[in-house]
Symmetry: C2
């Protein structure tokens, strides 16, 4: 029995037949069973019984070394191969089985029924406000048992579901606020990769993440609706949505803190005929472009299409040489180059043309000049036609009319198109225009102005914030100078600020306050002695009012407005969440006396500072990286394409979108872009 056991265990260990045969021989040649007994040990790892190897080695040297050696080599090789194959199969098989076991656990047959305490106030909200609309104080997903407690919580209302809002939601402490997000889209869109979705390099669903999966994590509420207006005095947001009867219905959402992060729309520059062009702001824009590009291919194949029509259908014009326009042109060209000829008649490829109409002298003009040139060189090699210093004057049904300087003269030209993308910067949404009109100080027609604490200028209580594309931080220090100098004069006991004079010591003490109030001036307020010397024009040893004013105006002129990018919105959202967390904790204990100028925000948290982390752009199987540090910009071919993807992959919003992105890129490599439209 023991012998049998030994054989079994040895064969368990080695699995394959030759090894078993060898042990057979060895054990058979007069070895007593008792002499083998102590060598049987139990492996803690395998749980199976095994004999340690040296035992066999000693046995093996007793006379029959040669045949054993030969067998042993074969056995060893076979063992290794089989063991590896077996292990690999087991690992992969195990992973598959594990996945199926997990998968099986995700199906639910029976609904989990449970009593729900839906708050009565959510089902029949009270009416009020200037328009006597329902006021949504409590929502259907609030816990009815805690309704009273919830009513006492400060209400944080976030308008929009873009970069700023999501960064805020990911960083806010849900304990402090009753959070409600209002947006017409129930997803967050990963905008930087949107150009890839226009030609099927990526699928649109890989770029979006349900906003409810983000709000869900912090027990925030989401309402798919449009913000229409704000009543700043009663602290109510007016919201509307098409109701179940197909008619628009309005209601109020009350707030204690309101965040406006509604983004922007495309700037028209007053050009007529934009009903004939495509935009690229949202997933539906990407879908429409993809559909139309392929439809043009199909029409170009029909026997009734003339040569001229075919050339027009296959002429793609991009108005705007910024990152979006450039990336779209690059993606489109890649598709035309890599996939079109695989599926469509070759004549299409020969008649395709891509044009970029750019008003400045370079494309990507906010980037390092070397990068602009790199992109232009690349495009000219790829026969993408870059038209610089060209201003679009009108769009007709099938052509772009534009003017271009040539030898000092301005010449009007036209470009027929099958598809025209209009991506020429951002403009204010209707909602922002409406609330800007309600506030006297809001004069900027491009964006809502905020102070450096991101508070919307002109709101009476400083409880409305604006972030992202829809906002701009008020850099206009000059307009604040008078007020600021008044304050300084008052501190020095001078009645008329015009007779102010600052010694170097006084100047040195004032600067930190300027820096704190306008953090972006920090870089320009470094060498205080040199500045003082340079602007003390009369060498009086003091800065007089006029000299001081000139100095501050100079600094003001050096400040640029923040870019309308995902990066900026993200930083603002993050900043605001941190401040709101601090505010919620600090306010109750904070005496008004401790607060400078009664400014709670300023007392608990620093002003917003934008840190530019660089820009990157895809330029057609290549990418450019502008780090913002001069001399440290770079770009190039495939390696940089992979780097570009890695950056966006790493920054992507969730594990789900990351997996989908990787899949989409893999799919493109294996099967190409699928040219189907519906």
């Amino acid at each position: 029995m023991l012998r049998q056991r030994l054989l079994t265990t040895v064969s368990t260990r080695r699995v394959i037949a030759p090894a078993v045969a060898r042990v057979h021989t060895t054990v058979g040649r007069g070895t007593t069973l008792s002499s083998l007994r102590p060598t049987i040990v139990r492996s803690p790892l395998l749980g199976a019984v095994r004999t340690p190897k040296p035992q066999f080695r000693v046995l093996a040297t007793k006379g029959d070394e040669k045949p054993l050696k030969r067998r042993s080599k074969l056995a060893r090789a076979l063992f290794k191969t089989f063991a590896f194959c077996g292990f690999a199969t087991l690992t992969i098989g195990g992973a598959i089985v594990a996945f199926f076991v997990y998968d099986a656990s995700t199906y639910k047959d029976e609904a989990d029924e449970s009593d729900l305490a839906v708050p009565q106030l959510a089902l029949s909200p009270r009416r009020g406000g200037p328009k006597n609309l329902p006021i949504a104080e409590i929502l259907v997903d609030d816990d009815g048992d805690e309704a009273q407690k919830l009513l006492d919580k400060p209400r944080l209302v976030v308008l929009g579901s873009g970069w700023g809002s999501v960064a805020l939601l990911k960083n806010i402490n849900p304990e402090n606020y009753h959070v409600t997000v209002i947006s017409p889209s129930n997803y967050f869109l990963y905008t930087p990769l949107l150009p890839s979705a226009t030609v099927g390099t990526l699928e649109v669903r890989s770029l979006i993440e349900p906003i409810r999966s983000i709000t869900g994590k912090i027990n925030a509420h989401f309402l798919k609706a449009n913000a229409e207006s704000v009543d700043f005095s009663e602290k109510l947001v007016e919201v509307s949505q098409i109701g179940p009867d197909g008619k628009s219905r309005s209601f109020y959402v009350p707030y204690d803190k309101l965040i406006v992060g509604v983004g922007s729309k495309t700037r028209t520059h007053g050009v007529e005929g934009l009903e004939h062009v495509n935009f690229l702001k949202d997933v539906n824009d990407a879908r429409m472009i993809r559909k139309k590009v392929i439809e043009n291919f199909e029409q170009a194949c029909l026997p009734t299409t003339t040569d001229e029509e075919r050339r027009r259908l296959l002429s793609f014009v991009v108005c705007g040489g910024g990152p979006t326009g450039v990336e779209f042109a690059a993606e489109l060209f890649d598709m035309l180059n890599e996939d079109l000829t695989l599926r469509y008649p070759r004549i299409l490829r020969n008649e395709v043309s891509v044009h970029i109409v750019q008003s400045r002298s370079h494309i990507l003009n906010t980037y390092d000049e070397a990068l602009s040139r790199y992109a232009e060189d690349r495009f000219s090699r790829q026969q993408i036609d870059v038209l610089t210093n060209a201003r679009v004057s009108k769009i007709e049904e099938d052509k772009v009319i534009f003017t271009q300087q040539e030898g000092g003269k301005i010449i009007t030209k036209e470009l027929p198109f099958g598809l025209c993308l209009w991506s020429t910067g951002v403009a204010q949404t209707d909602f922002c225009q409406r609330i800007a009109e309600l506030l006297d100080v809001q004069k900027n027609s491009h964006a809502l102005e905020t102070d450096s604490h991101l508070r919307l200028l002109g709101t009476p209580m400083g409880d409305v914030y604006a972030i992202g594309d829809c906002s701009t931080v008020q850099n206009n220090i000059t307009s604040h100078i008078t007020e600021f100098l008044k304050h300084v004069a008052w501190e020095q006991g001078i009645k008329d600020e015009k007779s102010i004079r600052l010694t170097f010591d006084q100047w040195r003490k004032i600067v930190p306050r300027i820096r704190k109030r306008f953090p972006q001036t920090t870089d320009h307020l470094r060498r205080l002695d040199k500045l003082f010397e340079a602007y003390d024009e009369d060498n009086s040893g003091t800065l007089e009012f006029d000299e001081l004013k000139k100095l501050l105006e100079k600094i003001d002129s050096k400040l640029t407005s923040l870019p309308a990018t995902a990066q900026r919105a993200h930083q603002q959202g993050q900043y605001l969440a941190r401040k709101l967390n601090k505010l919620a904790q600090a306010t109750p204990g904070l005496e008004m006396n401790d607060i400078v100028d009664g400014d709670v925000d300023d007392a608990v948290y620093k002003a917003f500072v934008y840190k530019h982390l660089g820009s990157l752009a895809y330029v057609g199987n290549a990418a450019v990286f502008d780090t913002g540090i001069s001399g440290l910009s770079f770009g190039g071919g495939l390696i940089f394409l992979y780097l570009w993807r890695s950056v966006y992959f790493a920054q992507s919003v969730s594990a789900r979108t990351r997996m989908l992105l990787a899949m989409d890129w893999g799919k493109r490599a294996l099967f190409g872009r699928d040219l189907m439209n519906f």
Copy 2:
């Protein structure tokens, strides 16, 4: 130097420190370098130099066995672990590197420019036909250098890009025909899984395959356009499509063989108000349903939505208890049960209702009764409301009006709905109606009638075939009896077929011809002696005209029409491709004298026989399988769900769709269905 080399190589082999140390000791203990020299061999696999193992074993036995043994065990364990980890890393890393190397090879920077010989006739086609339209004899993707040769090739025109057409394209020999496919969709849709795409279990792009990737393989042409009509005498298909100017343009495509595989539309049963319901025939239908379901969820969350409205928004009504309706209800219910509560307020789940309105006494009424009952039981446990014997009389904007028998009385009821799916069988498309009107013998209002060779009845030259949902094989033997018996009478030298009499021997000789002509009768013409006996009512030993007629009519009544399924269309497409391949090769050598009744099709290939391979349906985390053999139908939970998926996975049209299907199923398990709409 040699010693150093040896050490290096050993450490190369074993990687880890202890092993190196041991060799150090061994070599250090007085072994001459020359004695080691012959043991240095070059491994062909690793390319590195290694010492064979036995050398060390022999050295090891010389006195210092114990310390070596201890180290050896540790080393062995470590070696194995490290080796495995290293190997695994190398394998995975290697696979990733290999993929990136492959991926890098798929990008193209420069366009491959080459001279194109586009046939002049394709660019400016001649005009002709009854409407003097352009005739597309040669297309832009034809080779201009071979234009004359192509003009001589027989032209095969395929209308539609569904199951039948694709099966045909995959089996046709491209050498024989100049093939052109015409369809309004540039993709093939894998219809059986369409219900899964309505709720995001699968994505629509995973269900479709570019038709151009199928036509590309056989050098066939594709035109994205609508077939409008056929001129049977001049052999021209009239095709129309919206041109680049936005207006409809028409042209002719000439054919030698025409295949009609245009599918069907949803049957209305004359019910009014269908503008308020959704259908489920195409990918856009699935997209619209998904969008609307989620929109309803969002509306149900708004504070302005009343309780009654919420219940209506969340009431989903399916009209039609066939596989499509049942699978949609099942998919919808799974989503409601598994994903809704994760993202949306729980009140929604509590107020959701799903209803199936079925006119027959059971859902899935074409399936085995046990399976119908299984599905009904399952649905009743899941609180899916199955209303049988219910006839929809009218659809209003937000409710279905239907009548139901209750205790012998017919009662009119109504069901409010937020979304209503109408899936109640198939009807003829407009194109089919138009061509049926052109042919006198086409009287069936539901489908185009063909003979058992799938030739459209009534066409003068027998060169038009109809396959799939749009067609039905003419089973009406009775109407052919007179002709058939005439033929028999003529063969027997009898002038009036009414005075015909068949002896058993004559009967036995005639049966194979009936079987050949109507293959579906085979099952009913097995026991010829019994049949003869049974219908020889006067026991005369012969079958007279009336007896023969009665017998054939009886068989006729037993034949059922073919189901409107993917399976049937697929078999017909495959059959037709094989026949067309034979026809192309056989016709030239075939003398008309050899052909019975001048029927070339009949001479070269057998008639079409439908082989039912079974039906399957998804019934909500479970599936049922009807094999068509009584007693061999089965169904059940998860295991059958996986089986159901496996069947469709295996049958899927390409490697691409298979990968996408697997990904989608995995995605659902990991992240749930994404409830975003746009």
